[in-house]
Subunit: 271 residues, 2 copies
C-alpha cells in the first residue's frame, strides 16, 4: 500500500494533456469631456481599454489586455498584474465574468481564457498617465439591444471604429451568453468577452457598491449619478437617485465652486 507521501513524490502532472491558461481584462473607465459652455457639466462616456496587437495572430487588430497565467499566482492576481502592466494603475475592483474555453477560440492552439472586468478611475489614469503610445487606447463604448435580442457593440477612438454584432442566448439560471455574428477589428472572441463584461458591469452597478470606484474619494452626487446613468444607459431623476444612494454616502463639508451655478457638496463613500 502506497503512502500519500510516496504517491505525491511519484506523481507527475506533466504526463497529462493540459491547456494554456490566460486572463483577459475588460478595464472600464468613465471619461468626462468638457462642454462648450463653461456653465455646463462635463459629458461622460464609458470607455474600455484595448491594445493593438503587434504580433500574430490577429496582428494589427485590437484586443483586451491579458496574458498567460504564471506559476505561483492566482487567476485574479494575473488579471490585476496584466491590467497594471498595461495602464500602470493597479485597479481597485476586479470581478470574474466567465471562462471562455471553446477549443477553436485561439488559432495558436488550446488556450482558455478567464475573463475579468475591472474598474479604473479617470483620476488615477490621468495621474499615472499611460504612455501615449498608440498601441493602447481607451475606446468609447456603445452597446445596445434591439427587440429581437440582437446586440450591436461599437467601440470608437478617434477615426478608428470597431463593430460587432452578437446574439444573446438564454442559458439556465437566468444567465445569458453571447454568440458573435460579425466582428470587425476585434481579435479572437473578444467581442463576446466584452459583451459579457458589459452585461456583468451593468448587473453589478445595480447595487450601489460598484460605482464608487470610477470616481475619486470625494465626489458630488451629480457626478455619481452620471456614472450610474452612463453605465446603465438610462436617465434617472435626481431626487430619486439621491434618495437611493443616501445610505451609501456621507456628507463632507467641502463644496465645488466656480462653475457658474450653485455649488455642489462633496460626498464620500460610507464604510
Amino acid at each position: 500500500m502506497e503512502s500519500e507521501k510516496e504517491f505525491l513524490e511519484s506523481y507527475d502532472l506533466s504526463k497529462y494533456d493540459r491547456p494554456s491558461v490566460t486572463t483577459d481584462v475588460a478595464a472600464f473607465m468613465i471619461s468626462s469631456d468638457d462642454q462648450e459652455s463653461y456653465r455646463k457639466n462635463p459629458e461622460n462616456r464609458l470607455r474600455l481599454l484595448l491594445v493593438k496587437r503587434g504580433g500574430h495572430p490577429f496582428k494589427g487588430m485590437w484586443a483586451l489586455p491579458g496574458g498567460f497565467l504564471q506559476r505561483g499566482e492566482t487567476v485574479e492576481q494575473c488579471a490585476l498584474r496584466e491590467t497594471q502592466e498595461e495602464t500602470s494603475v493597479l485597479p481597485v475592483s476586479i470581478m470574474p465574468v466567465g471562462v471562455f474555453s471553446a477549443p477553436d477560440r485561439d488559432p495558436r492552439g488550446w488556450i482558455i481564457s478567464n475573463a475579468y472586468v475591472s474598474i479604473i478611475s479617470e483620476e488615477s489614469v490621468k495621474q499615472k498617465g499611460m504612455d501615449d503610445a498608440d498601441d493602447a487606447q481607451w475606446f468609447g463604448v456603445s452597446f445596445d439591444r434591439d427587440d429581437a435580442g440582437n446586440y450591436r457593440l461599437t467601440l470608437d477612438y478617434g477615426d478608428t471604429e470597431l463593430r460587432a454584432l452578437l446574439t444573446e442566448e438564454k442559458t439556465c439560471f437566468g444567465r445569458t451568453m453571447f454568440r458573435i455574428t460579425e466582428s470587425e477589428g476585434l481579435a479572437f472572441d473578444h467581442a463576446a468577452i466584452i459583451a459579457a463584461a458589459l452585461t456583468a458591469l451593468r448587473e453589478a452597478a445595480k447595487n450601489y457598491d460598484t460605482i464608487f470606484d470610477f470616481l475619486p474619494e470625494r465626489f458630488t452626487l451629480t457626478s455619481l449619478q452620471k456614472v450610474q446613468e452612463t453605465i446603465m444607459n438610462v436617465s434617472i431623476l435626481p431626487a430619486n437617485f439621491r434618495r437611493m444612494v443616501s445610505g451609501y454616502v456621507e456628507e463632507t463639508d467641502e463644496y465645488v465652486r466656480g462653475h457658474g451655478h450653485r455649488p455642489a457638496k462633496l460626498y464620500k463613500r460610507k464604510k
Copy 2:
C-alpha cells in the same frame, strides 16, 4: 516578415509553463422524505452529491465530483460530462461559480479548478438510479451564517457528518469570498467551493427561473414553494408565493389526489 501562417506553424505552446485544469461540480438535488402521517406533505431537504476519494491525496475523504479538462471540450462540457459520469443523469442546468486557483490548493501540484453548480431533479435520480456503491452519496446540506459573518457548513449522510467553518470576505462588486477556518472530512478546498456554490444557488433562486429544474415537468405550487423555501432556508406565505410565481407557471387540468386533503392542481412551467 513572417506571415501569420508561418507564425502559427512554428508556434509551440508546450514551451510555456502551464497549469492542469479541472472542473468540480456541486450537484444539488432536493429530496422529499415521507412523513409519519399519510396526510402530511413530504419533508424536503437540500442535498449535495459527494464522492469518497479512493486514492491519494485525501484518500477516504469526501470531495465534489470533478475531473480534468480534456482536449476538444469546453469547461462547461467537462462539468456536464463529469456530473453525468457520476450520477448517470445529464443535468439540465449548470452555472459557473468561480475559478479556484490558489497555487497550493492541490498537493499534487499546479491545478486550477473551475467550479460549477448544477441542479438534478429527484425524479431523474430515482429513474436512472445511482449504483448504491457507497462511494457516491447525496449529503444533506446545512449552511448558516452567524452575526459575525462566520458560516457553518454541515453535510450529513447516515452516520457520516462533515463539517466546515468559513469566514466571509467582502470583495469588490458586492461579491463575497469564503476562507476556510476549519474543514473536517472534506478534501482539498472543497468546503470553500461548496460555500460559494450554495451562495450562488441562493442568489440564482431569487429569480424564479432556476427552481423548476429541481422538479418534474408537472408539479404542484406547494411543491414549488417547498423547493424555494428549502433552498433559501426561509418560509413564505402561500398566498404571496403563488402571486409571485404566477407569471412563470401555467395551469394544467390535472390534479393530485389521494392525500387526505384537498387535491392540488398540477402546473407546468410557462415558456
